[in-house]
């Protein structure tokens, strides 16, 4: 077991003919991800890394068995492409694109919710279940199969922690990056629940950062519903005070969102607190020795 993806995941790549789409398709294929088709409007009939390219998602769905998609489509075309994917019953979509207009993002997420499509992103690095499948841009050499589930906002931080765990002989079940926000199709809470239900995951690592209130909400969930050990690292403790918020933002966000408020909430919920990536290793070893 692993969460969201495994050896049976059959992948459609949206925006497969672009620079990033091509390179990442090559790397995912090398990692044995089963990529069955790609879509770029106007490029139907081409092949990328041996993968057939279609003009429309429906054409790809008609010709292949597909149960997940990853998008590298640039911001101006992203909303149309996502709505097309959702309408065509893609049930899991990793949206790597950053810089999508906020009105488009809110529309995409609402439509996905209505139609029952799970979205990871936008601005997500995707996820990797080491040894099984990689649906995203995680550098595969940094990971190794094991029993620690990692969820992060930042892609880079999830690479850093994967690298640190692997170098210290600790394998991972699945490593997920949900994106830096401020909008999320899947939250830390959604991923924590999946890890709680996953037999293979024995320890959960939650990587958070300053801003917003998601970590505080995750703390509540951990206290009530997560019975596996959770180790949390919140980065940005030393970051300079952010820019002043507009009235509307300040009303919604209130006083929450500092590193202290997140760490306090998580500690109170029973999570182990790591001060940096190296301490995560120490805490895992301590838990395993118990």
């Amino acid at each position: 077991m692993s969460i969201l993806i495994d050896k049976n995941t059959k992948v459609l790549v949206l925006g497969i003919t672009g620079k990033s789409g091509r390179l990442q398709t090559e790397i995912m294929k090398k990692y044995s991800t089963n990529i069955v088709a790609g879509v770029t409007p106007g490029k139907g009939g081409l092949e990328v890394e041996g993968v057939p390219v279609y003009d429309f998602i429906k054409e790809a769905m008609d010709n292949h068995d597909i149960n997940a998609a990853i998008s590298f489509v640039p911001p101006p075309y992203c909303k149309d492409s996502c709505l097309e994917a959702i309408e065509n019953n893609i049930k899991f979509l990793v949206l790597t694109t950053e810089g999508i207009p906020e009105h488009d993002v809110v529309g995409i997420l609402k439509f996905a919710e209505n139609k029952g499509t799970k979205i990871l992103g936008p601005g997500s690095a995707g996820l990797i279940s080491p040894g099984k499948c990689k649906l995203g841009v995680h550098p595969p050499q940094l990971y190794t199969q094991g029993q620690v589930g990692v969820v992060s906002k930042s892609g880079a931080l999830s690479y850093e922690v994967g690298k640190t765990l692997t170098e210290n002989g600790i394998g991972q079940s699945t490593v997920v990056a949900i994106g830096g926000g401020p909008f999320w199709g899947s939250t830390q809470l959604n991923i924590l629940k999946l890890f709680q239900d996953d037999d293979e995951t024995k320890i959960i690592v939650l990587l958070g950062e300053i801003g917003g209130t998601m970590e505080e909400e995750a703390a509540k969930l951990i206290k009530e519903k997560v019975h596996k050990p959770v180790i949390s690292l919140i980065v940005g403790k030393s970051a300079p005070q952010g820019k002043s918020l507009g009235h509307a933002g300040a009303i919604i966000e209130g006083n929450l969102g500092t590193a202290e408020s997140k760490i306090d909430a998580l500690r109170e919920a029973g999570a182990y607190i790591a001060n940096n990536h190296m301490e995560i290793v120490k805490l895992i070893k301590k838990i395993e020795d118990k």
Partner: protein
């Protein structure tokens, strides 16, 4: 992009939201034909203008140019006053707070209505949660009639049809301008009807590709009154680079926000201080790396640069190329500490070896070395 009050009010007028009549006064304008009473408002992008003395009333008792000169002499939160909006004074019976924005944590659109508006909206909502109402609405359906009726009843609005017209116009602006915030604080109930006393509109820079002409026009207008020495300008964010100047002596460049923040924490734990923080964003290039190095290198008290790279989208061959270009173009022997791994790391590291530029594998070691260098031991 944040709009000035006068720009927002132009848009309000266009969409039928009532505003006071008024004129914009620039610093060197000759002021004549003004009749009291007037409200004189400094045009600034920062908040808290009223409390800082940026709004004056001229009742005719003294020379108006005296008040105008006082306002032009002001600098509020590092922003200098370069334009004043002179508005007819209206009698306010009651103030209401109105805005349409995104509820970021929940990824929804929301209409926010407060039973009382005014300068201290943040403070008053902390104290009186029941006085503020959040109405979430569907991005495809928009704000529905019953939702407006509901809120009008909640806050006890008598002139419903005018209230509805204003909310519908705000929503139209929100959609058509790709705004992330349309705020009226306060909306005044006056003997003559509802009037938007202030305007705050933020546009989404990410929607530039849909509104090229509009953005250019608004930028031109802003340039006319923007302070050239504006200290906010040193904090640059273009499409791919975030640059934040700070006061220490170690420049930090990272290719991801999370690792960047972790690096700041590590430097602080090792006893170092950061001169500036530069984040490249996920997809980048050798040119962007070069630009980032030059930006960070501009700091006067700089003792070293720490470059933290862990590429997913970002390719290490491109990054190596950018660093090598910088070394060749800027021959100042500034110590650079580089941690490089991730996508195409073998090629990147080989390029660095060819140029005899050392590369760290561990983030800790690179950060510690940079701190040691900066402290001179």
């Amino acid at each position: 992009m944040k709009l000035y009050e006068f720009q927002g009010k132009e848009i309000f007028k266009e969409y039928g939201i009532p505003v006071q009549s008024g004129i914009l006064i620039h610093a060197n304008d000759e002021v004549k034909n003004l009749t009291p009473p007037l409200v004189l408002k400094a045009q600034l992008l920062v908040g808290g203008r009223g409390k800082a003395g940026g709004i004056k009333i001229w009742d005719g008792n003294i020379d108006v140019s005296k008040i105008i000169n006082e306002l032009f002499a002001l600098t509020i939160k590092r922003e200098k006053v370069n334009a004043i909006l002179a508005l007819e004074k209206v009698d306010i019976l009651r103030e209401i707070y109105l805005s349409i924005t995104f509820n970021r944590g929940k990824s929804t659109s929301v209409l926010i209505v407060g039973t009382s508006g005014g300068m201290d909206i943040e403070e008053s909502t902390k104290l009186n949660k029941e006085k503020i109402h959040f109405i979430e609405f569907d991005p495809f359906l928009g704000i529905l009639e019953y939702q407006i009726r509901y809120i009008a009843k909640k806050i006890n609005i008598e002139n419903y049809s005018e209230f509805k017209r204003i909310i519908k116009a705000m929503y139209k602006i929100f959609k058509e301008y790709d705004a992330t915030l349309v705020e009226i604080n306060p909306l005044a109930i006056t003997p003559g009807g509802l009037v938007a006393i202030d305007s705050k509109i933020n546009l989404d820079n990410q929607s530039y590709f849909r509104h090229e002409e509009l953005f250019q026009k608004l930028e031109e207008e802003k340039k006319l009154i923007k302070d050239k020495e504006d200290s906010n300008a040193s904090e640059s964010t273009d499409d791919t680079i975030t640059f934040v100047p700070l006061s220490g002596n170690i420049g930090v460049i990272s290719d991801g926000a999370g690792t960047g923040l972790l690096t700041l924490d590590l430097i602080s734990d090792f006893g170092g201080r950061v001169a500036s923080f530069c984040e490249l964003g996920g997809i980048t290039s050798s040119e962007i790396m070069l630009k980032a190095l030059k930006l960070v290198n501009g700091h006067s008290s700089l003792k070293g640069i720490l470059v933290v790279l862990i590429g997913g989208f970002n390719r290490m061959d491109d990054m190596a190329e950018g660093i090598i270009k910088f070394k060749k173009e800027v021959k100042n022997n500034m110590p650079i500490f580089i941690r490089m791994c991730g996508t195409k790391e073998e090629i990147g590291k080989q390029l660095m070896r060819d140029e005899h530029i050392p590369v760290y594998n561990s983030l800790n070691e690179a950060a510690e070395a940079a701190v040691k260098e900066a402290r001179g031991n």
